[in-house]
């Protein structure tokens, strides 16, 4: 059983974030971190592998050279192998270009199951999974809140061969249950699990695990098919920031409850 997990590096939550007025892109020179939504995808991949008793989890990341740290975190958390697609030509890739690159890597790997996190914490997009599934012509299930795998009766764990996954997921109307045969693409919600923390052993062992770096040329893609050149959308301008009311911030020093009551009284809400 081979499980691939597509992960992304995003600016660290505590880093000051800005859009570069020159390139109109998110400034990615600030400290980065493994996208938290993707840690849930990785955790689910590890659980699937553990339940089947056999297999490999491969973390795939597209991003600049410095994003290798995030990929190393994925290895520390338990991924067996990592693939980093790093090429200056990739900068500015939109959905069409990014899905083209990831689909190409996944075609090479030919996994049984592909996981995505729900969304990028930087772009708030929840779209990459469906675009990649379409390029691979594989079934898609998004927003998975729980997942069960069904094994071939002739190949149960500990060398389990998974034939199907059954997923419960939330929509605007309640819960759906969707089933798909393998190979398929599953995007998980952040409610599906609690990701483990990396162990010391995991961190120490991460460096020794196989890591491969690929360029667009390695994937037989031309530089015109990726990055800004291969993208069909553009950022035209930075607009005015949205109007915001006055906002107050307090740090709790033991009196926060009283401060809230005073505020509510002032606003005539009590």
């Amino acid at each position: 059983m081979k499980v691939c997990v597509c992960v992304k590096e995003v600016p660290d939550a505590s880093a000051p974030k800005r859009i570069d007025p020159q390139t109109l892109r998110l400034d990615r020179s600030v400290p980065g971190a493994l996208n938290e939504f993707d840690t849930h995808a990785l955790e689910e991949a590890l659980k699937v592998k553990e339940a089947s008793g056999d297999g490999e989890v491969v973390a795939i990341l597209m991003g600049p050279a410095k994003a290798a740290d995030s990929l190393r975190k994925a290895l520390a958390l338990g991924a067996d192998r990592a693939i980093h697609v790093a090429d200056e030509a990739l900068a500015g890739s939109d959905l069409v270009a990014t899905s083209r690159v990831l689909a190409r890597v996944l075609e090479r790997e030919s996994p049984d199951l592909i996981f995505f996190g729900q969304q990028g914490a930087d772009s708030d997009g929840a779209v990459l999974c469906a675009a990649v599934a379409d390029r691979l012509r594989r079934p898609l299930i998004s927003q998975a809140a729980s997942l069960e795998q069904e094994f071939d009766p002739h190949h149960p764990p500990p060398n389990g061969v998974t034939t199907k996954v059954k997923v419960k997921r939330q929509t605007e109307y309640g819960y759906d249950v969707i089933e798909a045969p393998l190979p398929c693409v599953v995007a998980v919600s952040d409610a599906i699990n609690e990701p483990r923390y990396p162990s010391l052993k995991g961190i120490m062992g991460a460096k020794k695990k196989p890591q491969e770096t690929l360029t667009t040329a390695d994937l037989e893609l031309s530089t015109l098919e990726v990055g800004e050149a291969g993208s069909c959308t553009e950022v035209r301008a930075l607009g005015e920031p949205p109007a915001r009311g006055e906002s107050r911030r307090i740090e709790d020093n033991g009196n926060a409850a009283q401060a809230i009551v005073d505020y509510l009284a002032e606003k005539k809400l009590l």
């Binding site: 675009a131 079934p139 398929c184 993208s231 959308t233 553009e234 950022v235 926060a256 401060a259």
Partner: protein, 320 residues
């Protein structure tokens, strides 16, 4: 501009966000068609003229019965191969995000998402997208056609302009692989549970509460304030609280006079369900939580300490 608007329905009801987007499309240009996909949806087509469609294309087929995205991508891709539409718009939902993204890949067409406005500037369609936790708005465009866009839920209200639409049925052909995912159980609207949409005060709990038992803190505060209890998607999905109490894009939209968010980080999916609230108070231990970007009063601190004290103080004050 020839625009196609994807119309979502659920159990025979047209979805409000789709109708809002249809109205916006009609405001931007004359040539607006709507597409309805499903099994037994033909009867809904007539209504769409009133909301701005000049033409309604209906893909009515058993293969489209379950609200799954991939067969719908096949229908749209087939239609766009035959006829020219320069723009395809979707009101964002769990279903349409997957349909739009699949279509973008199939056609190598640009998709902009999470748009809160559409505008034509010098003959070019421009979308407005909030970024960095809604602290800036970026103007986005498309370099090729068709231009695909997902509009943030709740952005445009439906407008009844009162026209007649011409209805046309489409042939439906679905790829084998598109039909491989199957729906075993389908979501049904739940009507039971407290009515958080009408409450004057809503106290909401999120994952920061730590464990399901701690929802009692939120319930106690709501009781002291005479309000209703709400929950985020994360805790509902995790089984801590019932779906009927969920606020956000896939839950209910509330606009109480006072909204108190306890241990909620405040992702965009949550924000769209409560941003219309009069006063927003957020308590969270993470000073970087996005919710502080749109709170009137942000309190950085431990919900487990603050919420019980607050409930006591509210009771004392009301008792006096």
């Amino acid at each position: 501009m020839a625009t196609l608007v994807y119309i979502e329905d659920h159990e025979g009801e047209l979805q409000k966000d789709s109708l809002g987007v249809l109205g916006k499309a009609a405001q931007l240009g004359d040539d607006v068609a709507a597409i309805l996909c499903g099994a037994g949806v033909k009867g809904l087509a007539g209504e769409l003229g009133r909301y701005g469609a000049k033409r309604v294309l209906v893909a009515d087929d058993p293969a489209l019965d379950a609200p799954l995205p991939q067969p719908r991508v096949d229908v749209l891709a087939g239609l766009l191969a035959d006829r020219r539409f320069d723009t395809v718009l979707f009101g964002a939902s769990v279903l349409t995000a997957d349909v739009a993204a699949g279509l973008a890949a199939r056609l190598d067409a640009g998709l902009n998402w999470d748009l809160v406005d559409l505008d034509v500037q010098e003959g070019q369609l421009v979308g407005k997208r909030p970024a960095l936790q809604d602290s800036v708005i970026v103007e986005v465009g498309w370099k090729s056609e068709p231009r695909l866009a997902l509009i943030r839920s709740g952005t445009f209200e439906p407008v009844e302009s009162g026209g007649e639409a011409e209805v046309e049925e489409l042939q439906v052909e679905v790829e084998d692989w598109s039909a491989q995912a199957t729906m075993l159980e389908r979501a049904r609207a739940e009507s039971e549970g407290p009515n958080i949409e009408e409450a004057d005060v809503v106290v909401a709990g999120g994952r920061g509460l730590g464990k399901p038992e701690n929802f009692s803190l939120v319930e106690d505060l709501a009781k002291a304030l005479g309000g209703a209890v709400a929950a985020t998607r994360a805790v509902v999905d995790a089984g801590w609280y019932p779906y009927s109490a969920q606020v956000g894009q896939t839950g209910k939209t509330v606009a109480p006079r006072l909204y108190i968010a306890c241990g909620i980080s405040g992702a965009i999916q949550h924000k769209v369900g409560m941003q219309g609230s009069g006063t927003i108070v957020a308590i969270n231990k993470d000073p970087n939580a996005p919710i502080f970007e749109y709170s009137d009063l942000g309190v950085v601190g431990d919900v487990h300490e603050i919420v019980p004290k607050l409930a006591d103080l509210v009771r004392q004050r009301k008792g006096s």
